[in-house]
């Protein structure tokens, strides 16, 4: 079977392709946009497409057979598997198949795509959180040094003071530290950081 993956996100497309290696025999191609003549040359049996790709509407229109499109494609819906369609929508992926292809052959491909889309989403969310945590930790370190210098506290005491401010105001430690640095900047007559 030939599978075409259309995803404006190349990293995610590669992740899906990697997941499909386990399914044999499969020939996989990746593209950021759907190119009709390239697709006609490849003749995919299954097209996996990211929900955010505007090319979905082009794929929807290939339902009718024509000279330029001898193999009509339809959106893959497995009626024996209730909830799968909703799950795919939530995962942000859809599959189009050459009309008549058996659901049993397509389902594993869609399932790999769905799990890889979830994984990518999770990886991106983790990365964003790690970046935010790192930035917050740096801010706390700087606020701590400021307190140590201005209030002649040791590191432990400076940290406890920040913790107390955080608990008293019900705000995260990073936010309290950022405020402190900004105010210090203003008091010193510098630009707020």
């Amino acid at each position: 079977m030939r599978v075409l993956i259309i995803d404006p996100d190349p990293a995610r497309a590669a992740l899906v392709a990697e997941g499909l290696i386990g399914i044999d025999p499969l020939e996989v191609r990746l593209a950021a946009v759907f190119d009709e003549s390239a697709a006609a040359a490849f003749q995919p049996d299954v097209v996996v497409v990211a929900s955010e790709s505007p090319d979905r509407d082009t794929l929807e229109s290939l339902r009718e057979a024509s000279a330029a499109n001898p193999r009509p494609v339809v959106m893959f819906v497995d009626r024996s598997e209730p909830g799968l369609a909703e799950e795919a929508v939530r995962a942000g992926v859809a599959a189009y198949v050459v009309d008549g292809l058996s659901a049993a052959r397509v389902r594993p491909i869609l399932e790999v795509a769905m799990s890889r889309f979830h994984l990518m989403h999770q990886l991106r969310a983790d990365l964003a959180k790690a970046k935010a945590d790192l930035a917050s930790r740096k801010t706390v370190e700087r606020a701590k040094s400021l307190l140590m210098k201005e209030r002649a506290l040791d590191e432990e005491a400076a940290y406890r003071l920040l913790r107390k401010l955080s608990m008293d105001t019900g705000r995260p430690l990073g936010a309290v530290a950022a405020d402190l640095l900004a105010f210090a900047g203003v008091l010193k007559g510098g630009d707020p950081i």
Binding site: D57, T58, S61, M75
Partner: protein
């Protein structure tokens, strides 16, 4: 969803998404006690699927999509309704400037299509935005008026509106029918010329509607009423010529349309957001759309009265407007 929960509404980057964007930006949703998250979507198919699966509560939809989804043509059937029409006007046919030199562009297109056939060359390709759209019906009707059979004499394809200007420039397509601002964008780029506007052909054709599932509407009557009231107020704001500059600047932002305010301003004159009979969904519009779908072979015989009554819901509109 309760009145305190967040509503998720989808839109496609088009000028006629203005009522949703204005309701968010100018506080009309908030005035009705609604908290709304707008979600910009890349395709009509995704809009349909997300509304169908409940991943969106409602969306900016092509009017015929509500009928197609309800009838289960092109997708699994899901009962959808149109409790509000968002606009009229904006759809237009734009041809490549390669065809619009001297003389009548329509006649030139017809001539070229015939010549390609005689020479056995590949047919001219034109694009619409979605199979179930008045853009598809307008382009087909316009070509039929030139004596062309749109299913035989040319090749009709679907292309994302945001790519139409590039596809014209590259010679992949010779023309397209899309909504605002994409005709103005192609004209501004010097690659296309608008040759037919829906306002001159079918001035009262419904273009976009608010689409929700019948299930959601029944389960969330208060939220739907608030949503309709907010959108009616936002449509009035968008229609006020005094707000034109602010509206164009708002829509042009990257999170909304991401095109120049000039392209939006150039299109605003063609679009009616409110006034007269624009917003109430009139069942005769559903009848007319079903006729178009039948004319072009998308559906067979359907019980038009029943379908129109179930999908086009002026009762919900009137209840919101009156209360």
């Amino acid at each position: 969803m309760s009145m305190t929960g967040e509503l998720r509404l989808g839109f496609i980057p088009l000028v006629d998404a203005a009522p949703l964007i204005v309701a968010q930006e100018k506080g009309f949703f908030a005035q009705q006690g609604l908290s709304v998250a707008l979600s910009r979507e890349g395709s009509w198919a995704t809009i349909r699927d997300k509304v169908s699966a409940g991943a969106l509560d409602g969306a900016h939809m092509l009017a015929p999509m509500v009928l197609a989804a309800s009838l289960g043509v092109g997708s699994e059937p899901r009962a959808m309704i149109a409790p509000l029409a968002l606009n009229q006007g904006g759809a237009a046919v734009t041809l490549s400037t390669r065809l619009t030199g001297d003389g009548e562009p329509g006649a030139r297109l017809a001539h070229l299509a015939r010549r390609r056939q005689e020479e056995g060359a590949s047919p001219l390709t034109l694009a619409v935005v979605y199979p179930y759209s008045i853009h598809n019906y307008l382009l087909r009707h316009w070509m039929a008026g030139l004596g062309l059979n749109p299913d035989v004499d040319v090749r009709l394809t679907v292309a994302p509106p945001s790519r139409t200007a590039d596809l014209l420039a590259e010679g992949v397509i010779e023309g397209f029918c899309a909504g605002a601002p994409w005709n103005a964008v192609a004209e501004a780029a010097g690659v296309g010329q608008t040759v037919a506007r829906i306002g001159d052909v079918w001035p009262s054709a419904p273009d976009k509607v608010l689409g929700v599932t019948e299930f959601w509407a029944a389960a969330n009557p208060a939220a739907l009423r608030a949503l309709l009231r907010a959108l009616i107020a936002a449509a009035a704001w968008a229609a006020d010529v005094g707000n034109k500059t602010e509206l164009a600047a708002m829509l042009s932002r990257p999170e909304y349309l991401g095109v120049t305010p000039q392209a939006i301003l150039a299109s605003l004159g063609e679009i009616c957001f409110t006034g007269g009979e624009v917003n109430p969904p009139r069942p005769e519009q559903a009848h007319w759309l079903l006729e178009q779908m039948t004319r072009w072979g998308q559906i067979g015989e359907v019980a038009s009265d029943k379908v129109a009554e179930r999908t086009w819901r002026p009762d919900l509109y009137l209840a919101a407007e009156g209360g």
